[in-house]
């Protein structure tokens, strides 16, 4: 294992630096992500959710519409058949009505009334034929009270010339709350009567219960605005959409009630003060085409926001996971890069030290060598000079002079080497400290001096 070039302090500083380099942009990115998630994504998701709720309510209204359409179309078909078949024979008509009622598959109907008028050739109005089905038993009776002709189940289809539904009403006959639909009967262009089919509110509520989806509460409003079905039975027939708005002190609901009066559309509205007593509620609404009723689906805001919150939480969890992974990777990369950088610098410093030490060793060596050379050289020069003053032959003296000259030259050469070595060390030392280049003039001067001395040597 190679010894680390970075010490603990440097490592701490490096990590801090990496943390700032990676953490700061990632933090900003995370804040932007959260903002984006809550505003853009949140709004988008809420819009999607409310659209889903509206679509769901439209679907439920469509289901209910199917029930209503089935009730009216079956009644219209069978009643018209009966009326046409026995238009001139009251006894046959009675029999057919009874049979029709027995065979009619309107399982939800508790009562069906047939009434006819103006059937006599002499223009006299015949008594109304009123058929009552109660507990599976059908009874027919003639009704001579003119007021039956002005009850909604008769009057509305008569005047509108089409199938019409009444507002909910209390029937003293059956002792229950009902709504009825009436179908006008014609032979050719001649109006002959109305077939009416009354359904108890309880049965309507059961159908509504079948189409309900958990988490929402359905309220059914007649086209006049009266409450037909409500989670709280006490409100049925008692309240209208306006009075419910007043009870809840909800401006939004009041506006909705007035809007629906003019234009029956589907949509969703958020109530600050809810109908069902929750602080805030969403009310999705959709019309029922057959009878212009309106189905309201009331969902507490908490229930609407729960999936949205879950979705946002999921997004934030995803974001956190991605963010942490990104942080780890970036931190690793940045740390590695910083560490490499720092190592290079440390290595360069060490190389410089090594080079300096190397030069210093050479100089020391040269100094030592010079010293070691000089000592014997001094002896040689000294002894040669002494020997000249001794009684020697001229030839020998000549030789001694030669030795003396050579030794002196060698001494100067060694001195020059020492000076060169000293200057080189000084240059290296200076460059390592200040990186100032060794003056070229001095370098050349030393080099020349040394070269001269070397040339002078034999």
């Amino acid at each position: 294992m190679t010894p680390s070039l970075i010490n603990e302090q440097q490592l701490r500083e490096l990590r801090l630096k990496a943390l700032i380099i990676v953490g700061l942009p990632l933090g900003i990115a995370a804040s932007l992500f959260c903002y984006w998630t809550y505003t853009i994504l949140g709004t988008q998701a809420l819009n999607e959710l409310t659209a889903v709720l509206t679509a769901r309510t439209i679907g439920q209204a469509s289901d209910l519409n199917t029930h209503c359409t089935r009730a009216t179309s079956e009644l219209a078909a069978t009643a018209t058949f009966t009326a046409i078949t026995a238009s001139d024979d009251l006894e046959l008509y009675r029999k057919l009505v009874r049979r029709t009622l027995s065979n009619l598959k309107l399982s939800n109907a508790t009562f069906i009334g047939f009434a006819e008028t103006e059937r006599d050739a002499d223009g006299q109005q015949r008594p109304l034929l009123y058929a009552v089905r109660k507990n599976g038993e059908i009874t027919l009776r003639d009704v001579d009270e003119i007021r039956y002709l002005f009850q909604d189940w008769f009057l509305l289809p008569r005047l509108l010339n089409k199938t019409a539904w009444t507002d909910p009403y209390y029937s003293e006959l059956s002792g229950e709350m009902r709504v009825a639909c009436g179908v006008p009967l014609f032979i050719g262009d001649r109006f002959i009567g109305v077939a009416g089919n009354a359904i108890s509110i309880e049965q309507v509520a059961k159908i509504v219960e079948q189409i309900n989806i958990q988490g929402s509460h359905l309220i059914l409003i007649s086209d006049s605005g009266t409450v037909i079905v409500h989670p709280d039975q006490e409100n049925i027939l008692r309240h209208t959409l306006v009075s419910l708005a007043n009870k809840a002190n909800s401006r939004e609901l009041l506006e909705l009630a007035r809007r629906l009066k003019k234009n029956r559309t589907a949509g969703i509205v958020r109530l600050e003060k809810g109908i069902l007593g929750e602080p805030r509620e969403y009310v999705a609404y959709a019309p029922i085409a057959n009878n212009n009723w309106t189905l309201l689906s009331v969902i507490p805001e908490e229930a609407v926001l729960a999936p949205l919150k879950a979705r946002l939480l999921l997004w934030i969890i995803y974001g956190c996971v991605v963010g942490i992974l990104l942080y780890v990777i970036l931190y690793y990369l940045v740390t590695a890069a910083l560490r490499k950088n720092l190592s290079n610098e440390a290595m360069a410093a060490r190389a410089s030290l090594f080079a300096e030490a190397s030069v210093h060793s050479q100089t020391e060596f040269l100094r030592d060598v010079s010293h070691d050379l000089r000592t014997p050289l001094n002896a040689i020069v000294g002894f040669a000079n002494i020997a000249r003053f001794c009684d020697v032959t001229p030839d020998v003296r000549k030789l001694l002079d030669g030795i003396g000259h050579a030794a002196n030259k060698l001494t100067r050469l060694i001195d020059a080497m020492v000076v060169f070595a000293d200057q080189s060390e000084s240059q290296l030392f200076t460059s390592s400290l200040s990186s100032t280049p060794f003056p070229a003039a001095e370098e050349s001067m030393v080099k020349e001096s040394a070269a001269r001395e070397l040339e002078k040597s034999p």
């Binding site: 007021r147 002005f150 009850q151 909604d152 009057l155 509305l156 005047l159 509108l160 019409a164 009444t166 507002d167 009403y169 209390y170 086209d223 006049s224 605005g225 009266t226 409100n235 049925i236 027939l237 008692r238 309240h239 209208t240 959409l241 306006v242 009075s243 007043n246 009870k247 009630a257 007035r258 629906l260 009066k261």
Partner: protein
């Protein structure tokens, strides 16, 4: 020992029986009931009477055992009054004058409404802006006692409707636009129309009162005999009901809650919003002002009587014999 126990038991039973019968004889005989029959089902129209009972105002004025009763559709309060089925009954002024002229011995003991509540409401979208526009239109009408004002209204503006159909309490034909107009009373059906989402600016409203043919509405009636034999009771009842109305207008929330309780007990399906609206309208019709002279409240004004009589005469009723003095007990 056993004999002793039997004797003691018998003695005890005898003493208990004696003490119970003694207590019964010591109690004062309960006063005969004083029944006041309202002309319709429980609603804010009768809040003054309801609050007078609830706040024991009848007892305060010395009339014990007052019971208020409510009518069903088929009931005719004035007939029940003269048949002795009730001691007092409420009713409209014009109706009461008619009944009196027909021979029913009834007399006005208090007149609380000072304006007529009857009106015709029409769809502006059907081209109806002024009374004459009602010609050629289909109108729902209650008929009966309501006919007096409407007939005069038609005559005044020469209105010939296409048809006048009987109004059987359902507003659906009007709401669906099957009929063009409907005759209503302001405190009930008109409030109901608002409650059903109709907006005031979409309706053409003709108050008979504003066209000079309104007869004042609710008053309290008794038989002549009762007014003669129990004048103090009549005055006490009038005072108690007056205070009842004052209490009702000053404590509207409590009044509406109480009316709702009566309504529920009677099996009626209504809501507090409707009753509050009705109470507000009744206050307007009674021209109730808390600063007014207390003793003027509940008085049948001569001009109101004379106007109602005149309207009846114009409608062809023979009410000449009925005078203010023999019709009203101040």
């Amino acid at each position: 020992m056993r004999t002793l126990i039997i004797i003691a038991t018998l003695l005890f039973c005898v003493s208990v029986a004696f003490s119970v019968s003694a207590a019964e004889s010591a109690l004062p005989k309960s006063a005969p009931p004083v029944r006041i029959l309202m002309q319709w089902v429980p609603q804010s129209q009768f809040a003054g009477y309801i609050m007078a009972v609830e706040k024991k105002l009848f007892a305060k004025h010395g009339v014990e055992n007052v019971q208020i009763e409510f009518s069903r559709v088929a009931d005719v309060p004035m007939t029940k009054l003269t048949n002795g089925d009730c001691e007092y009954a409420t009713g409209w002024l014009a109706t009461a004058i008619q009944r009196r002229a027909e021979g029913l011995p009834i007399i006005n003991v208090a007149q609380f409404h000072r304006r007529s509540a009857a009106m015709i409401v029409a769809h502006k979208s059907h081209g109806i802006e002024k009374p004459a526009d009602l010609s050629g239109k289909v109108i729902l009408s209650w008929g009966g006692d309501f006919d007096v004002e409407m007939t005069l209204f038609f005559r005044k503006y020469q209105i010939t409707p296409k048809a006048v159909l009987p109004f059987l309490s359902s507003l659906a034909p009007f709401l669906k636009g099957v009929v063009d107009a409907v005759q209503v009373v302001e405190y009930n059906e008109y409030c109901r129309l608002i409650e059903l989402g109709m907006e005031e600016q979409d309706m053409a409203v003709f108050h008979f009162e504003e066209h000079g043919i309104g007869a004042v509405g609710d008053g309290l009636y008794a038989t002549e005999e009762r007014s003669r034999e129990h004048p103090d009771q009549v005055r006490a009842i009038r005072l108690a009901v007056t205070e009842g109305w004052e209490y009702a207008f000053r404590n509207q929330q409590e009044t509406v809650d109480t009316v709702m309780k009566y309504s529920a007990k009677h099996g009626e399906r209504t809501n507090p919003f409707h009753q509050q609206q009705m109470l507000d309208t009744i206050k307007k019709l009674m021209e109730f002002d808390s600063n007014q002279d207390y003793h003027q409240f509940g008085v049948l004004r001569y001009q109101d009587f004379a106007h109602a009589k005149l309207l009846l005469q114009r409608s062809g009723y023979n009410v000449d014999s009925i005078t203010y003095e023999n019709f009203y007990i101040p």
